[in-house]
């Protein structure tokens, strides 16, 4: 079909026809009237490229065409957005003026190159530029697309941040979950997965980690919420260190500290929360143990003070002079001190009888052959250590002052045997080679103390004989406590 020019009257000025052709040529018209077989017809001047024009205008990349001299002849709306300039500002400009730094050129392998696009309203924008030169109807033109790399970079940064956050969650030693605003779990740490038994992602918090209502009720903060409202509360309200227990198999004895804090996005809007469950079972156990130890220490200090008070009082009553008191009191306190050293070193478990004798009687020459021991190995409970140490101290002091150990060749034989199927111990202290014994009749504090300590603190009996050849003392007491010391009547010393 060709344009009909027969309708153009001959008398019409020539420039009108020229104007018409020029207007069509310049694209100022979008339809023409032609003379068809049935009269005039309107023909639209839309070519096959019209759909592609729409696509180019709608695409998310910037696009432009250059003429043979490198001037911009077309830009799509996306490029206007990327450069923050209008079509009118861009068309006619030189391509190179769009960029700061190196101007991209067409690559031999059809690949894209990076460049910095100048934005009218700010700094350069990183773009990936693809170019191809084409000849269309004898006209050379270059097609160019520009892809905004800042979006890709942002996506990479987001992906990197996501990986970073995930690695934190995976490595965290506490149970950490991220809740969406509806209380559903969107992320969970490895420990949280172990606690839940499986991946809790997608579940409501209260389903994955059911709180023990009993324990929660004691915690006023959580008691206000029903199970349903708890999910939403945890996702929207901050909680700090609420102690809870979980109603889950295998976790009944464990305590957790529940905390929740808001999760905000870049726009500072709250989009959920981060909830942590810290297992404080061991910490609580340690705290309880510490409390118990402090109470125990307090108890023992009071006992020691009571013993010191008792020993001081009794030593004072039986001492003829201050120097005598000083010597006797120091010796007895020394015996208490040694006994305590033994208890501390053995962590209050107890000690072998042989070892106790070696320690307590070391100042009296047990290693020099003057004190001889004989008996099967016997383990003494901790409660026996202090009273037995004091008794042995009294016996050794007496021996060194008046008995076998006061003479150059005197000796003490200490022997023991088990009685009542090993439940009781009989210990014999026998002195030989000392000065002839004169029974002094009245009991000194030494013998009084021995008698009282053995009876009340060792739950046994003591017999002291004073034949002329030397003292013979027999101690009998139970190795295992059958009654607790608190139930005993008045005591000389206590070791409980």
């Amino acid at each position: 079909m060709t344009l009909s020019t027969r309708t153009v009257q001959d008398e019409r000025p020539r420039n009108e026809a020229e104007e018409t052709v020029e207007a069509i040529h310049q694209g100022n018209v979008d339809a023409v009237v032609v003379q068809g077989p049935e009269g005039p017809q309107v023909i639209m001047l839309q070519g096959a490229d019209a759909p592609y024009h729409v696509l180019v205008e709608r695409m998310s990349d910037g696009a432009l065409t250059l003429d043979g001299s490198g001037s911009i002849v077309y830009v799509n709306s996306r490029l206007c957005a990327l450069t923050a300039q209008t079509t009118a500002e861009l068309v006619g400009r030189n391509f190179a003026s769009l960029f700061s730094g190196a101007v991209p050129v067409q690559s031999a392998d059809d690949s894209a190159s990076e460049a910095q696009l100048i934005r009218a309203d700010g700094g350069p924008l990183p773009v990936s530029v693809w170019m191809r030169q084409m000849t269309m109807g004898g006209v050379v033109a270059t097609l160019v697309t520009l892809t905004d790399l800042s979006i890709h970079r942002h996506a990479e940064e987001v992906a990197s941040a996501e990986r970073f956050a995930r690695s934190i969650l995976e490595q965290a030693t506490d149970a950490i979950v991220v809740l969406a605003l509806d209380g559903r779990i969107t992320h969970a740490s490895g420990v949280a997965e172990q606690l839940a038994g499986a991946s809790p992602v997608g579940q409501l918090f209260s389903d994955a980690f059911p709180l023990d209502a009993q324990s929660a009720r004691h915690q006023g903060t959580l008691a206000r919420f029903s199970r349903e409202s708890l999910d939403r509360a945890l996702a929207t309200k901050p909680f700090h260190g609420v102690e809870v227990k979980l109603r889950k198999e295998g976790l009944s004895g464990r305590s957790f500290l529940l905390s929740a804090g808001p999760l905000v996005n870049d726009a500072k809007a709250i989009v959920g929360s981060i909830v942590t469950l810290i297992d404080i079972t061991e910490r609580k156990r340690a705290e309880e143990q510490q409390t118990m130890l402090v109470a125990e220490l307090n108890h023992r200090v009071k006992n020691i003070l009571a013993i010191v008070q008792s020993v001081a009082g009794q030593t004072l009553r039986t001492s003829p002079s201050l120097p005598a008191f000083n010597k006797a009191f120091s010796g007895r306190i020394q015996a208490v001190s040694i006994a305590h050293d033994i208890l501390t070193q053995t962590r209050w478990i107890g000690i072998g009888l042989n070892e106790l004798l070696s320690t307590v009687l070391a100042p009296y020459g047990i290693g020099e052959g003057r004190l001889i021991t004989e008996g099967a190995p016997v383990l003494l409970e901790a409660r026996l250590v202090l009273p037995l140490s004091m008794v042995l101290h009294e016996l050794a002091t007496n021996a060194s002052k008046y008995g076998a150990l006061s003479a150059p060749f005197g000796k003490v034989a200490i022997s023991w045997r088990l009685r009542d199927d090993g439940r009781r111990l009989e210990l014999i202290w026998l002195e030989r080679g000392g000065p002839a014994v004169e029974h002094r009749g009245a009991r000194g504090f030494g013998t009084t103390l021995i008698d009282r300590v053995v009876r009340f603190d060792l739950d046994g009996e003591a017999s002291l004989d004073f034949p002329p050849e030397g003292l013979r003392c027999v101690l009998g007491f139970a190795l295992s406590a059958e009654t607790s010391p608190e139930e005993l009547p008045g005591s000389a010393v206590r070791t409980d």
Partner: protein
């Protein structure tokens, strides 16, 4: 308005093509600015009746015809270049 000082304009369009729509809008705006109260516009849609093209020997669309004041003048295009239109229609800028 008398026939001597009034502008009688006839615009030929083809349905809702982009340039037809633009031409109608541009012409109305231009007349309101420069010929307030002194013009009439007749829009002729050749899509509805192509035969009407013969009356003014229309070849390209859109085309504006100035019927009055004489002589008859024609301007082809979407009339976006206001200056060119004013010159073409012999309208002194107001």
């Amino acid at each position: 308005m008398t026939e001597q000082d009034g502008y009688n304009l006839r615009l030929y369009v083809a349905g809702q093509t982009p340039k037809s729509v633009a031409a109608i809008a541009n012409l109305k705006k231009l007349c309101e600015t420069h010929l307030p109260g002194r013009y009439t516009i007749e829009v002729i849609d050749l899509m509805k009746d192509p035969a009407l093209a013969q009356r003014d020997q229309i070849v390209a669309i859109p085309t504006l015809i100035r019927q009055l004041p004489e002589p008859l003048k024609r301007i082809i295009g979407d009339l976006s270049n206001a200056e060119k239109v004013l010159v073409g229609l012999d309208i002194a800028p107001s």
